[in-house]
């Protein structure tokens, strides 16, 4: 009954040679030394495969779309065979009651030993009525599946932060996984991005399944190996930034030359992700490489921070759109006018009191 990963792969027609290649590649993509490749191979040959439940809440399925386009087809096949067989309502073959029964089956059969992957989040308003799965609010399904899982993966910015459906005023009260009240206290790995990079997703799953422990997480709960540096830190256009060469208009010479998009509102300097190193679609490109600034899609609140093409963040707490310069500049002007008025009054007052002038 409990077949190993290796068994699953062989059944899929993957040769031993390809299997070993996959192990080396996984070790490399996780930033491990080559000595780890045999360890990964050994783990996959001996450990029973851990089922993954993949739930979909309020989302757009871009995480799944990204995931199935993982740059390394072998990794994709392997990972998909590890989990799609169990439950993923977008790509599983089963439907209706049969499909929903899979959740009960896994929860009971693998109590405390399966991974719960969540794509999207749960709207809490109206008792969760804004997202119904199999006739029940998604939030109930999520809580039920989380109760006996081993760990939770929050796929994408929806599950990690809330994303666009949680944008102000958030009418459905879309709530990211770690903020759902009453959710079982399980370790949560956030893999933010809209969507996250496919290779990052497969590497996180591979790490969990082979080592049976969580990757090192940062304070915000993201795997450090992929979210410890900003896009800006490894951007290939960084030399133009340091030189002071910026794109000023979308159609200027600097844009054609591929200069830095900082002035066009690129959020690379404030965004933690691996786009500038791993890139997308088998390493073909990433937003900045194709001439558009980073919109910061893996950062909390990126949807509520004003235009994607502005350098300074909008501050909405004054109920008008403003940024730090507008607010600060206004304050400085008010202080300046205040000082001038006060100085004028002082001079006037002194002029009226000739006696006070002796020193």
């Amino acid at each position: 009954m409990n077949e190993t990963f290796y068994d699953v792969m062989r059944r899929q027609g993957i040769t031993r040679r390809s299997f070993l290649k996959f192990c080396s590649l996984t070790a490399a993509s996780l930033g491990l030394s080559p000595a780890f490749a045999p360890k990964i191979a050994h783990a996959m040959e001996t450990k029973p495969r851990i089922p993954v439940l993949w739930l979909h809440g309020l989302e757009c399925t871009c995480c799944s779309e990204s995931f199935i386009r993982s740059g390394h087809p072998l990794a994709k096949d392997v990972i998909l065979s590890m989990l799609s067989l169990d439950y993923d309502d977008t790509i599983m073959a089963a439907a209706g009651h049969n499909a929903e029964a899979i959740i009960d089956e896994i929860v009971e059969k693998y109590k405390g030993n399966y991974i719960l992957a969540v794509e999207g989040n749960a709207p809490l308003a109206e008792d969760g009525m804004y997202c119904i799965i199999g006739g029940k609010p998604f939030v109930e399904q999520l809580k039920y599946a989380a109760e006996s899982c081993k760990a939770i993966i929050s796929w994408g910015s929806c599950a990690s932060w809330g994303c666009v459906q949680a944008a102000k005023p958030n009418p459905t009260r879309a709530t990211p996984v770690h903020k759902i009240p009453g959710l079982a206290d399980k370790p949560i790995i956030k893999v933010p991005g809209c969507p996250p990079i496919a290779e990052v997703m497969t590497a996180v799953v591979a790490y969990l399944l082979t080592f049976e422990k969580l990757p090192t997480l940062d304070r915000q709960g993201r795997p450090q190996m992929f979210y410890s540096q900003r896009i800006h830190d490894k951007c290939y256009r960084r030399p133009h930034f340091d030189a002071g060469q910026f794109v000023e208009h979308w159609d200027d010479e600097a844009a054609r030359q591929g200069h830095c998009l900082y002035k066009m509102g690129c959020k690379g300097p404030t965004t933690y992700n691996a786009c500038s190193t791993v890139r997308w679609n088998e390493g073909v490109s990433f937003p900045i490489q194709s001439g558009h600034g980073c919109i910061g899609c893996s950062e909390d609140g990126f949807w509520d921070k004003g235009g994607f093409y502005q350098r300074l963040t909008d501050i909405n707490d004054f109920s008008i759109e403003a940024n730090a310069d507008a607010v600060g500049g206004t304050a400085a002007t008010v202080v300046g006018v205040g000082i001038a008025a006060h100085a004028g009054l002082t001079a006037l007052k002194r002029a009226k009191q000739p006696g006070a002038d002796q020193q």
Binding site: R219, T313, D325, A331, A332, H342, A343
Partner: protein, 236 residues
């Protein structure tokens, strides 16, 4: 140092010791440098042409900002030590006597004085109470905020494993939620400091003209002189 007595004061009192004056002028320099370079980091100068390898404009602007930031932080550390080692006036802006009734009455009188409702200002050897209040809450805490958030932003660049990241970014970033918010707050408080400096210079000049003690020459020479023989109001 000459201690004032309750009935009369000597004509001049040594208030600002050399390290305090040095800190004041260092601060004036680095804060101007930090404000200008900080503004240029958020809104860079016009682009330069040619090859990237021939220029380092942003690099120099950022270097100046970081170097001045270090000076500001080291200066504040040193000044905090001097608050302990120096004379009683060196402690004034760090430890405002918030529980003292006299202090708040002094604040009230200063407010009336600035609102043109009091005829005469009071006479102080050190800062007046309103000045103490502003210097403590706007300047000292403002500087501390800028140094903490500044090093947290700097630690983002030096990266995980650096002491700047370990000591600052690792806990400051989660408080602000993300890097972009942190940038905005660092930027906003810069404007607060600008407002403080504008008011600081204005009231220093005004008090120098109107009050009963010297202000501008005192921060240069350290000696406070008085324009009349009446008793001072900040006797401890």
């Amino acid at each position: 140092m000459t201690e004032p007595t309750s009935t009369s004061v000597p004509h001049a009192v040594y208030v600002y010791e050399k390290p305090v004056r040095l800190w004041h002028s260092l601060n004036a320099l680095v804060i101007v440098a930090l404000t200008v370079t900080g503004y240029l980091i958020a809104s860079p100068l016009a682009s330069v042409g040619g090859e990237a390898s021939n220029h380092f404009v942003m690099g120099y602007v950022r270097f100046l900002h970081f170097a001045a930031g270090y000076l500001l932080a080291i200066g504040l550390l040193f000044r905090a030590y001097w608050a302990y080692a120096g004379n009683e006036h060196a402690r004034q802006i760090f430890l405002p006597p918030l529980l003292s009734r006299d202090f708040w009455q002094g604040v009230g009188h200063e407010v009336l004085w600035y609102a043109f409702l009091a005829k005469e200002p009071k006479k102080y050897i050190g800062h007046n109470p309103l000045a103490v209040l502003f210097m403590h809450f706007v300047f000292v805490w403002g500087m501390l905020f800028m140094i903490l958030t500044g090093f947290a932003l700097y630690g983002e660049g030096t990266g995980q494993g650096s002491w700047q990241h370990a000591l600052f970014s690792s806990w400051v970033l989660p408080i602000f939620g993300d890097s972009q918010n942190l940038h905005s707050w660092h930027h906003l408080v810069m404007w607060l400091i600008v407002c403080f400096i504008m008011s600081h210079i204005y009231v220093a000049v005004r008090e120098d003209k109107l009050s009963r003690q010297t202000i501008l020459s005192a921060i240069v020479t350290g000696w406070r002189t008085f324009k009349d023989d009446k008793p001072v109001d900040d006797i401890h």
